[in-house]
């Protein structure tokens, strides 16, 4: 029964994920192809530290810095976070508000197991985007003249996948726990954006530097996977957060009334 629920969720979410994946690969190929032409010019720009941090630390004159700022800092997490959050909130709170969940849960399936199945489907959507990012990196870096190892590109895709799991799980927790789609989407997106800003600016101010530890971005990219490989502690933190948040959603939906 849970397999059926996961399969139908995937069937409904994968078309959008596939389109995004194809677009992501195309954009990364274009970004890579642009590097030989504009990378060295942009690399000479004197960018303020705060702006540089927003873009993943700058260093645009190298292929690693170029992809870090163009893809790893913004585009990758934006696409994977958007799909994870919208997919997770739509398949939980969205279906509840659309009154579909009321029919589904009149069948002999536990609410928690249904939410678990939906979370698994969203994880597959996230993996699809992470794999597309990996393919896009390989293509883009090749078109840009090379310079990043496959291992480091894989590390970014892995970190990105766990970032997607965590943001999706946050939306699952909020969507399943409250049944309110706008709240789930808005709050999860706000956490993502605040996390990006905090991770960028907190290290610049000594008194609030510690805030970076509450940002999912820190565990995703704080370790610079394109240069230093997989950050095992970061992956563990994001993985544990994903499991805990999904569990909170499963518990939350069991304890409350369906709203519609």
């Amino acid at each position: 029964m849970t397999v059926a629920a996961a399969r139908i969720t995937l069937r409904l979410r994968l078309p959008a994920a596939t389109s995004a994946a194809v677009g992501l690969i195309a954009v990364m190929a274009a970004v890579g192809a642009l590097f030989p032409t504009v990378g060295h010019t942009i690399g000479t720009l004197d960018v303020p530290k705060s702006v540089s941090n927003l873009l993943g630390g700058g260093d645009y004159g190298t292929i690693t810095g170029w992809f870090r700022s163009e893809i790893a800092a913004i585009y990758g997490p934006l696409v994977i976070g958007a799909l994870a959050i919208t997919g997770a909130s739509a398949t939980t709170a969205g279906e509840e508000e659309d009154r579909i969940l009321g029919l589904v849960l009149a069948h002999p399936i536990r609410r928690a197991r249904l939410v678990g199945a939906k979370a698994a489907a969203i994880a597959v959507v996230v993996l699809t985007i992470a794999i597309a990012t990996w393919i896009g990196l390989i293509v883009g870096v090749a078109l840009g003249g090379g310079g990043i190892t496959i291992a480091h590109m894989t590390a970014l895709a892995v970190q990105l996948a766990f970032f997607g799991f965590a943001t999706g799980a946050l939306a699952i927790a909020l969507g399943a726990g409250t049944g309110r789609r706008t709240l789930a989407t808005g709050a999860a997106a706000t956490v993502g954006i605040l996390g990006w800003l905090i991770n960028s600016f907190a290290p610049l101010v000594g008194a609030i530097e510690w805030l970076k530890y509450v940002s999912p971005f820190y565990y995703y990219a704080g370790h610079d996977p394109l240069t230093r490989g997989v950050d095992i502690p970061g992956v563990i933190v994001l993985g544990v957060a994903s499991v805990v948040l999904t569990a909170l959603g499963m518990i939350g939906i069991e304890r409350r009334d369906l709203r519609a």
Partner: protein, 300 residues
């Protein structure tokens, strides 16, 4: 009838605040019954059904369905019950076939012959995406999914909404078959004619409280009766309005229609003071019974 009721509620309540919800429902529905649950919008019909399926939790009281506790044994209950929600919604992008396949899988599979027979019986279109279907065609899918696993109990919230008369007829025939097989139907409606035609007993809810549970025959006896009295000449209906028990009187040409509660004696005697050509009793519909009970001062 079995020894235990198929549905039994005891003081079942769901308080949404501001006087909305369901309050102290005590109800028993027996095996093989087609039980009508009547009331206007907001009376608590859908709330009762959602409580029985554990989609919402009661504020107080309890309910048992098929002998099982609705809170602790809801999974088993839902496996043995077919449910049609009043505001049916399906995945718009899926075809009817894919939707039915999914819901069948959630039940661990159904007999495809039963499903196909229901699809044919209702003329359901299962090959187009749900978003392209009319309300009536979506409702047909809802009926198919509710009946396709041959449940012991059917909980149907406004089942004929949007159905054309032919499909309604088919649905009524199916209810009779289901009842004859010893299965139970608990259906809500504010389409009064639907309940009148198919139910053995009915309950009327008013503002979240049970007003009456009885057979249609018994309910008719307490309802307003009407006589159409044809005179040889015009008669002022005001003569009848002052009589004890008379609730209404109006004239149309030489015919006066008088509505009254209790004995017809005073009405007949007043009519006899004129030249009476004919007296015709008017069969009261369930509409009158319903309105009688739904009036805020309607006696339970």
């Amino acid at each position: 009838m079995s020894a235990a009721p198929v549905i039994a509620t005891s003081g079942l309540s769901k308080d949404y605040g501001s006087g909305r919800g369901l309050f102290g429902l005590d109800l028993e529905v027996w095996q093989g019954e087609v039980f009508g649950f009547l009331g206007p919008n907001g009376a608590g019909k859908s709330t009762t059904m959602r409580l029985l399926l554990d989609l919402i939790k009661p504020t107080s009281g309890s309910a048992r369905v098929l002998g099982l506790d609705t809170l602790r044994e809801s999974i088993e209950i839902r496996g043995r019950v077919g449910f049609l929600p009043g505001d049916l919604a399906l995945y718009p992008k899926l075809t009817g076939r894919a939707m039915l396949d999914y819901l069948a899988q959630l039940r661990g599979g159904v007999d495809p012959r039963v499903r196909d027979a229901l699809v044919e019986r209702f003329g359901a279109d299962i090959d187009r995406p749900v978003r392209q279907l009319s309300t009536g065609n979506r409702q047909k899918l809802g009926l198919v999914q509710a009946f396709m696993h041959e449940p012991e109990l059917l909980i149907l919230d406004e089942p004929i909404a949007g159905l054309d008369p032919l499909v309604q007829q088919s649905f009524h025939a199916l209810l009779a078959e289901v009842s004859a097989q010893g299965r139970t139907v608990f259906l809500s409606s504010h389409t009064l004619s639907e309940v009148e035609r198919v139910t053995h007993r009915l309950a009327i809810l008013r503002q979240g409280r049970l007003v009456v549970v009885d057979s249609l025959e018994n309910l008719r006896q307490v309802a307003v009766q009407r006589l159409e009295i044809e005179f040889s000449g015009p008669v002022d209906p005001e003569e009848f309005r002052a009589l004890p028990g008379v609730t209404e009187a109006h004239a149309e040409g030489r015919t006066v229609t008088v509505g009254f509660e209790g004995s017809a004696d005073a009405v007949v005697k007043a009519a006899a003071t004129h030249d009476v050509r004919a007296i015709r009793p008017r069969e009261d519909g369930l509409e009158d019974i319903f309105l009688h009970y739904y009036r805020p001062d309607g006696a339970p």
